[in-house]
């Protein structure tokens, strides 16, 4: 499988895991009321192929445009994952409220809240790793873009 496809599949799986962590998969009456309300979170899904500027027919301009796209790519990733981070923090508050509804006191309540804490921690790490991966993919996209400007 080509490297960029492998990365895209890996990112898609990562996002799917994040959606599950935020969603209503937990036992009980209710959980997070939102589906996934954040922007697309993979470079492959958002950006076109890296040879997008080749048609300008000017290597210097093409290279400059590729370089200029880095900030746009990074901004997109930061916004998308900031939204995802907020979604999981919100999800935890609903899940904790549900714990209190299901178990008013005692060990069961504590265990329920501990599960929420664990899941939130996993989600937080997943978001951080996914953002790092997105930013790495931005660098790769720019490098591929610049390479395409001078390709024969």
């Amino acid at each position: 499988m080509p490297e960029h496809l492998r990365r895209a599949v890996s990112r898609a799986l990562g996002v799917a895991v994040l959606v599950l962590l935020a969603g209503g998969a937990r036992a009980g009456a209710f959980s997070n009321p939102f589906s996934y309300p954040c922007a697309a979170a993979s470079v492959d899904a958002v950006f076109p192929d890296p040879d997008v500027f080749v048609a300008v027919g000017d290597v210097a301009l093409c290279t400059k445009l590729c370089k200029g796209a880095l900030e746009e790519c990074r901004s997109w990733g930061k916004a998308a994952f900031k939204c995802a981070g907020k979604l999981y923090a919100n999800a935890a508050s609903y899940q904790n409220a549900n714990c209190r509804v299901l178990y008013s006191t005692g060990e069961l309540l504590e265990a329920c809240q501990a599960d929420v804490k664990t899941a939130t921690g996993v989600a937080r790490v997943s978001v951080r790793n996914a953002l790092t991966g997105f930013l790495d993919d931005c660098d790769t996209w720019v490098a591929d873009c610049q390479a395409s400007c001078v390709a024969p």
Partner: protein
């Protein structure tokens, strides 16, 4: 509902169509990759928190409605950023495709007019979606009143 879908398409499709217009250079991102701006319509049913009991239920409804508004604003910001990016690349493209200063000016004017129109569409569209979040919250709170004590 049809009207909402049409408005949504105006906002998203216009951005997506931008890439197909003149020249060799257009936007990198598209507003269609932003989150669905119809957040309230994608939320859980309004009686979702009923089992929490009236007091907690109402509090959760209020939080969810406020968060819904936050996601609508996020989606609008994303769309505006995409249109801004599109505008930048299309202006660069004007330089590439215009043979005379008059052509360049006409190209830039057309691009800027499109951008202004797209921004206006987003600004006009968002208040209705914020209101939909508020309505979801009110309906949710109303459903709480029938909650078991």
């Amino acid at each position: 509902m049809k009207r909402t879908a049409l408005s949504l398409c105006l906002v998203i499709c216009a951005g997506a169509a931008g890439a197909a217009r003149a020249g060799t250079l257009s936007s990198l991102t598209s507003a269609s990759s932003c989150a669905n701006p119809l957040v309230a319509s994608a939320m859980a049913p309004v009686d979702y928190f009923v089992d929490a009991g009236p007091k907690v239920c109402k509090s959760l409804c209020k939080s969810a409605a406020a968060q819904c508004k936050g996601y609508v604003k996020g989606s609008a910001s994303c769309a505006l950023a995409s249109y801004k990016s599109e505008n930048r690349y299309r202006l660069e493209n004007c330089v590439l495709v215009s043979a005379t200063p008059a052509d360049l000016k006409a190209c830039r004017d057309a691009v800027n007019a499109d951008y202004k129109s797209l921004k206006t569409e987003v600004h006009d569209f968002a208040p209705g979606q914020l209101e939909a979040c508020g309505q979801w919250g009110r309906d949710c709170a109303a459903a709480c009143s029938g909650a078991p004590l």
